[in-house]
Amino acid sequence: MSRPRILVVDDEPQIHRFLAPALEAAGYEPLRVETAEAALREIARRAPDAVILDLGLPDMDGKDVLSKARTFYAGPILVLSAREREAEKIDALDLGADDYVEKPFSIGELLARLRASLRRGAHAEPEPAPVLAGDLVLDLALRDVRRGGAQVRLSPKEFDLLAQLAGARGRVVTHRQLLTAVWGPAHVEDVAYLRVFIGQLRQKLEADPARPRHILTEAGVGYRFMADEARD
């Protein structure tokens, strides 16, 4: 079985210096480029299994790289970004990035996100099998949600929202993506809806709704559904 090829796009040689051996040690085959132009060329030519893309590239806006890449590449793209460049992160996710990792990051965090993105890539179609998360069993196809074996009653909007989150399998989903999918494009600004419904979902699904373990907030960006409780 050939190792998954991961294209790393960053203009900092120092980042490549540790990412390359780390990816290799974790069983991937790293490819490295330092410019947006080279990145687009390599994505087209080598068809990597996933792309790790730094948004701060010298020759092109990271968002342009994303939208250009998305015209011919469907695989997972993981974005590296600075914490304070929130708008940039959200734009990147809305433009088709699968997830983001904030610099500076530990290698464990990056690889966990990379694994989640690769899983998504492996099951691009909505998965019929139930999602297991702690004492939760979510059968999205049957619209059946159980907690500790007992059925949980969800309103249609609550279920749609949960389905969007769980379907992303550990990846962050932006406010805009959730609002568009559940309430329609006219409601993309109505983040308050989300807060209310996320609160209701947590009441019904979380052991301690004040300290959620499955439906996690990504402040200012969106939400993430974690099946396993471990988080780096």
């Binding site: 203009d11 900092e12 120092q14 980042i15 210096r17 540790f18 990412l19 051996p21 780390a22 040690a25 974790a26 701060g56 590239l57 010298p58 600075a82 304070e84 610099k103 500076p104 990051f105 530990s106 290698i107 464990g108 990056l110």
Partner: protein, 492 residues
């Protein structure tokens, strides 16, 4: 006003002169009587009246007419040497005296009053012009206040003090030399005038100074001087002064705002720098160390060593960034007090190169110091840091294998050190901004070069020591950059 006699004295002079003129006419009449007809003597008196009228105005003219009538009657009209009037016709003569006095004196008086008023106006206008010049030349609140106090005092108020609000309290900003504070009563009165418009106590009368946009200060005048003077000079001065004070305080506020904005821009730039430029080395340190922690067993020894190496490099880089930011903070805080020591620049170049150490690996560094080079009068620590920054800059902007040449020398009053490299050089428009804070040569995201503070710190340090720094590029065959610092020589 000092150049005009007080009105009382001047008038008395006129009346005395009128009497003297009449006396002279009488004397001339008595002397020349043998040769003159009685009517001619009356003409002499009329002449005296006319002269008095033309020279001194209506009052003295009337006195002259009275004196002329009396002495003409007494001396020349029968019955002589009595004040009795001989015949009714003589009354006509007296009437002519008075008529001449009235007509001529009134006319002359009006002419003279007009002339006097015009001279007064000229003085007022010129005083106002002087004041206006002084007030508009004043760039500061204190300067404007002092000019106002001086001109009001000169305009006849004797002494004037000006108070303006400063950090929430009224402060004496202008007044006679030697007066640096008012008594308690006067202070309280000034406060009251600031609140209510006018107040007096402690020997001063205070009134507020009203600018276009509101109250700008308080002026105090000695309470024995009237401000309602005839020509309106003092009120006009107060108005002008208020406007000048207002302008100066607005200018001060604008300058303070600018300073705050500058400080804010710097703070913002520092924050951006910390967040962007510190994150890359931190990413490397965190990424490389967690890679070692998570995959130590799977990594080849050479790779492990390289990761450790990169952690050490980035930690050093972070340390340089911290040093640069602290240096920048020292320069900005103006807490920099350079020592002045007799310093052999060659020794400082030595220690700078030693401290740079590994950073210069792969670069060839040559140096040149003429024998017997004069010592510089500078702070060795600041000079060393400035040199380190210049050399770091030369190393960062050249490629591996760059040659760096450090050349010391001497000019008339200065010791010079030039740091030269054979890198690609700097374009003319970038050359102007090379010492700007956070200016980075090359592409904007080129973080290898550092924070973009090194050269501006070098410039700040060198200038703090009384030296100068210039950048020249290209220096040979369209390539290379020379950073030349000049330092004051040590006192012999």
């Amino acid at each position: 006003m000092a150049h005009a006699a007080p009105p009382r004295l001047r008038d008395l002079g006129g009346y005395l002169a009128a009497l003297a003129l009449t006396g002279a006419a009488a004397t001339a009449g008595v002397t020349a009587e043998p040769w003159l007809a009685a009517g001619n003597i009356a003409m002499l008196f009329l002449l005296a009246v006319l002269i008095a009228a033309l020279g001194f105005g209506l009052g003295p003219a009337l006195l002259a007419a009275l004196a002329a009538a009396v002495s003409y009657n007494y001396l020349f009209l029968p019955p002589r040497l009595t004040f009795r009037i001989g015949q009714a016709a003589d009354l006509v003569t007296f009437a002519v005296f008075f008529a001449a006095a009235l007509a001529t004196g009134g006319l002359a008086g009006r002419v003279r009053d007009a002339a006097r008023a015009s001279a007064q106006r000229t003085r007022t206008v010129s005083a106002l012009l002087d004041a206006s010049r002084a007030l508009s030349a004043a760039a500061t609140v204190d300067g404007a206040a002092q000019a106002l106090a001086d001109h009001v005092a000169a305009a006849g108020a004797g002494a004037a003090v000006v108070l303006a609000p400063d950090a929430g309290a009224l402060r004496l900003v202008g007044g006679p030399a030697g007066v640096d504070r008012l008594g308690e009563a006067a202070e309280a009165a000034a406060q009251a005038a600031w609140r209510e418009g006018t107040a007096e106590d402690g020997g001063w009368r205070f009134r507020s100074l009203e600018g276009v946009h509101g109250r700008v200060g308080v002026i105090g005048l000695r309470d024995d001087v009237s401000t309602a003077d005839d020509d309106g000079l003092v009120p006009a001065l107060l108005q002008q002064g208020a406007v000048a004070l207002e302008r100066a305080s607005l200018a001060r506020a604008a300058a303070e705002n600018q300073a705050l904005r500058d400080a804010d821009t710097l703070r913002q730039a520092l924050l951006n720098s910390v967040s962007h430029d510190f994150r890359t080395p931190l990413s490397t340190v965190l990424g490389a160390s967690t890679t070692l922690l998570d995959y130590e067993a799977d990594l080849k020894p050479a790779v492990r060593r390289d990761l450790l190496q990169s952690i050490a490099e980035e930690a050093r880089r972070l340390n340089r960034y911290v040093r640069d930011l602290l240096d920048m903070g020292r320069l900005e805080g103006e807490a920099l007090r350079p020592r002045r020591e007799t310093v052999e620049v060659d020794a400082v170049i030595d220690s700078a190169l030693t401290r740079l150490g590994d950073q210069l690996a792969g670069r060839s560094v040559t140096r040149e110091t003429p024998p017997g080079l004069a010592a510089a009068g500078v702070d060795p620590t600041l000079l060393e840091q400035a040199l380190i920054n210049l050399i770091e800059n030369a190393a960062a902007h050249g490629t591996l294998g760059t040659r760096i040449h450090i050349r010391a020398g001497e000019a008339a009053e200065a010791v010079c050190i030039a740091v030269e490299d054979d890198g690609p050089g700097i374009s003319p428009d970038a050359l102007e901004r090379v010492f700007d804070r956070f200016h980075r040569g090359g592409r904007p995201s080129d973080r290898a070069a550092g924070l973009g503070l090194g050269l501006s710190i070098a410039k700040g340090f060198v200038e703090a020591m009384g030296g100068g720094i210039v950048a020249e590029s290209p220096i040979a065959e369209g390539r290379g950059t020379r950073m030349r610092i000049t330092l004051p020589k040590a006192a012999p």
